[in-house]
Symmetry: C2
Subunit: 133 residues, 2 copies
């Protein structure tokens, strides 16, 4: 497990140099330019391996396919539930206190990996005002 592979290196490089939270499909499109013979299953398999290795994050979307994120610095995401836009932001969540609460309520020691906020961005809010909500 985890032998060297050129393809995996190129995939990680693509994600690193395209900090736009690309989807698997977008990663494939960017990778195939540099490595024309690569297959989509190789891209999917390596994305999952890189997530396991914690070199990249999977960002769970409410609309459309999941997106991926190079791990360069700990940060949170706010994801618009309507348009799916992802915003990076930094917030000093009190993880110790959250852990303590999780422990009390769930009777389990949880490893907190990331905290994601789902909401509505300003664009979508103003669109909705014009319509019905």
């Amino acid at each position: 497990m985890n032998n060297y592979s050129k393809q995996r290196e190129v995939i990680l490089d693509v994600i690193k140099n395209n900090p736009i939270h690309p989807t698997a499909e977008e990663i494939y499109q960017l990778t195939v330019k540099k490595e024309p013979k690569i297959s989509k299953s190789t891209v999917y398999r390596n994305i999952n391996i890189l997530v396991d290795m914690k070199k990249i994050n999977k960002v769970k979307m409410t609309v459309g396919p999941d997106r991926y994120d190079y791990v360069y610095k700990e940060h949170s995401h706010m994801i618009c539930e309507r348009c799916g836009k992802i915003f990076d932001f930094y917030y000093n969540f009190n993880k110790d206190d959250i852990s303590k609460n999780l422990k009390q309520q769930l009777k389990e020691n949880i490893i907190i990996d990331n905290i994601t906020i789902y909401g509505i961005c300003e664009d979508c809010k103003s669109k909705n005002e014009k319509e019905e909500f």
Copy 2:
């Protein structure tokens, strides 16, 4: 838009009475018992309508299909990234302060809908210890 529909009522009822975070498929299986002629597309369509109406929440999973949650009281979710188990929990996030930070960093007024924690549960942690991580 939003005429009365028996099917929608039954679907909401099913979700209300099965607070197990069911998937769309599970909701269909439960609904079809009460409404044998209902089609899966009707279930999917109404689930989305109920989410828009904020009667139910969509819970974004890391493994497997999304799950749904009757909105009876505001709470957060901790989702295990490995096994996909969902834990409900209550935590008094300082939403005002988070909003202020979002405003500062993103230059947008964001409506915070929910805050989700992704992590590793105790079972999965101890499994991993035995294996490789």
